[in-house]
């Protein structure tokens, strides 16, 4: 099974600030991967490293087992839709398709034209006049018509209204069915990703907090509710992610491969949103501890 994206100790620094650090991933192909995390967590940095717009400060990254932007062929296997779906405002839709045809040897003109037609777009219209949703569809068409093996999308629906958002994701799923592409899409909203993704990467505080198949993650993470107690007594195989206590009960989110047998806990399953929030608050807690230990204010 080839990997869609593989990173080893990947890091990117701007001046003294690390936008991404210690990132190690091995994402198999054939998945729809959700890259989720708060703004500034490094999602765009990771995607730009994957496309070859940036080069790593430390570590390495391969995409479809090749170095990003290493050749025209490699670039032809990747479709990228950047944040806010940039297009050439002064060029018409048709001119954009011509660009795609001229710059990509694997361009499928029939597919491109059919998609534009099915979307009800006028090819002679200038891209600057399109609505946000239409621009996103144009950008997606440009990415898909080169018949890539991997699609990378940076917050593609963040600025779309709910209807356009639903339509975009639906069309994206149709593309997955038709063309068997692997997809990595980022968002800071879990709700966008929950229904379409089957693999999850949580980025927070510029690091990968957790990653894996969603089914597997949901089956190995639990919420435990019980009477207030000392949390140091949890068995070694149970990893604490997040905890909160009132005087009447303690609630913890844990990762554990083995089932929780301790009758003192009542075990609940988590939604993907719960899981993501638990890891994000863990990251936030760690960040605050780090700042405090340096003597600063969080």
């Amino acid at each position: 099974m080839t990997s869609a994206l593989s990173a080893t100790d990947l890091g990117k620094r701007y001046g003294r600030k690390w936008a991404l650090s210690n990132c190690s991933l091995d994402i198999p192909e054939g998945r729809v991967v959700g890259l989720v995390g708060p703004n500034g967590a490094g999602k765009t940095t990771l995607l730009h490293l994957a496309v070859g717009l940036l080069s790593p400060s430390v570590g390495s990254i391969t995409v479809l087992e090749q170095t990003p932007a290493s050749s025209a062929e490699q670039l032809g296997q990747i479709g990228f839709v950047a944040q806010d779906t940039p297009v050439y405002a002064g060029l018409s839709i048709a001119a954009h398709l011509q660009m795609g045809a001229a710059l990509n040897s694997t361009w499928d003109a029939q597919l491109a034209n059919r998609r534009i037609h099915d979307l009800g777009l006028d090819p002679s219209q200038r891209a600057g006049r399109l609505s946000g949703g239409q621009r996103a569809q144009l950008a997606l068409t440009l990415a898909i018509a080169k018949r890539p093996s991997l699609l990378l999308l940076d917050e593609p629906v963040a600025s779309l209204d709910p209807l356009a958002r639903r339509e975009f994701l639906a069309i994206l799923m149709e593309v997955v069915v038709d063309h068997h592409v692997s997809v990595i899409l980022s968002s800071h909203l879990v709700a966008d990703l929950e229904r379409v993704c089957d693999y999850l990467v949580v980025l927070a505080a510029s690091r990968v907090q957790v990653n894996g198949d969603i089914d597997e993650l949901l089956s190995t993470h639990h919420r435990l509710v019980g009477t207030p107690r000392d949390l140091d007594n949890l068995p070694d195989t149970v990893h604490l992610i997040e905890s909160s206590s009132t005087d009447r009960q303690t609630t913890v989110t844990v990762r554990s491969v083995d089932p929780i047998m301790d009758p003192a806990w009542s075990v609940e399953s988590l939604t993907m949103e719960d899981l993501v929030l638990a890891y994000m608050s863990q990251a936030e807690e760690q960040r605050r501890d780090l700042v405090r230990s340096k003597g600063g204010e969080p």
């Binding site: 730009h48 496309v51 025209a72 297009v87 060029l91 710059l103």
Partner: protein, 350 residues
């Protein structure tokens, strides 16, 4: 990629093409008339006073000449500012580089294609403007016989092509470094003007070692005297070697003596009185052919008897070597800047 680079560039090419066509139209309409007048003038000069024809030519063409000269002088800079600076800066600023650099062309090919298309187009446009102006203005240039020492050098023949290459290099580099269009355009203007000025004033005259010619004071030139707080001075304007680049004209006497304030005070006592109230300097000057007060002519005669005029200059025969040398320097710098931008864009990625 070349075709797409051209496609992106289409509107800007259209604007400049229209400009060139408009200039061409004006030149085509007025050119033959000018040439005809000049032919008449040539025939007349053999016979005597041709002032009226002379004036007719100058007056008829003056406005167009001034305007087209100004335009030609500015043209390479405008190309650098409007074609060169936004070339990469616009893509970086608007974020479309993220679309462009994820297409199936390597960064290298993208950069080289865009640079080649727009850079060459700049040189061609500047070349066309220069060619048209050179053709149209040739009667005037022949009349003035000062192509080496005037803006004719900067706006005719080969120099503008090299200036355009240089301006393009400056523009592109500014765009790549600023990553924003407006600052890049402003920087291009400032750097281009400063570079051209510096080169013009300091470097051009020294591209090849200068020559000197020694002669008697040329009465056909312009000269005069000035009293300043520092004393009396004799001023002689750089003279009249046709189509040469004259750098300096000094009066030198025995043992290297010059026309000092003391010498003037001693030898030309009645020359200039004190300045009127409210002014620190007063002067008296004559251009060749005018009538002069006696004290003035006497002083000048004395100077002519005791001093030689030494002209430092570059001869007319060096006009073309200079165009080639200066052109090569500007072209080389332009290319170097493009190479730097290429390297910068490839390494220091977005």
């Amino acid at each position: 990629m070349i075709r797409f680079a051209w496609r992106q560039f289409r509107f800007q090419v259209l604007v400049v093409t229209l400009l060139l066509v408009a200039v061409a139209a004006v030149f085509l309409i007025t050119g033959p008339h000018l040439a005809h007048d000049f032919a008449e003038l040539k025939g007349c000069k053999a016979n005597g006073d041709c002032n009226y024809l002379d004036n007719a030519i100058q007056n008829g063409s003056n406005k167009i000449d001034n305007f087209s000269t100004a335009l030609s002088l500015a043209f390479p800079a405008l190309l650098g500012i409007f074609w060169g600076a936004p070339l990469v800066a616009r893509e970086l600023e608007s974020g479309t580089y993220r679309l462009a650099w994820s297409q199936g062309v390597t960064r290298s090919r993208w950069i080289i294609s865009k640079f080649a298309v727009v850079g060459l187009a700049s040189m061609i446009a500047a070349g066309l403007m220069s060619w048209m102006l050179t053709w149209w203005a040739s009667p005037i240039d022949t009349l003035n016989a000062n192509r080496f020492g005037s803006v004719v050098y900067d706006t005719h023949y080969l120099a503008p092509i090299a200036y355009a290459a240089f301006a393009f290099g400056v523009g592109v580099t500014a765009g790549v470094l600023w990553r924003r269009t407006l600052p890049a355009m402003a920087t291009t203007l400032v750097v281009y003007v400063a570079a051209r000025d510096t080169f013009d004033l300091q470097l051009r005259s020294h591209l090849l070692s200068t020559l000197k010619v020694v002669s008697k004071l040329s009465r056909s030139g312009g000269y005069g005297f000035e009293r300043t707080p520092n004393g009396l001075h004799f001023l002689v304007s750089v003279g009249s070697l046709p189509n040469s680049l004259v750098l300096n004209a000094v009066m030198v006497g025995k043992h290297g003596a010059t026309v000092t304030s003391q010498w003037l005070t001693t030898n030309c006592p009645k020359l200039i009185g004190p300045p009127p109230s409210g002014r620190t300097r007063v002067g008296i000057g004559i251009k060749g052919g005018g009538t002069a007060p006696k004290s003035f002519s006497q002083c000048v005669d004395k100077i002519a008897a005791n001093f030689h005029q030494v002209l430092t200059y570059q001869p007319a025969s060096r006009f073309w070597p200079f165009q080639w040398i200066e052109g090569s320097i500007y072209l080389a710098v332009g290319l170097a800047l493009c190479a730097f931008s290429y390297w910068w864009l490839r390494r220091r990625v977005a």
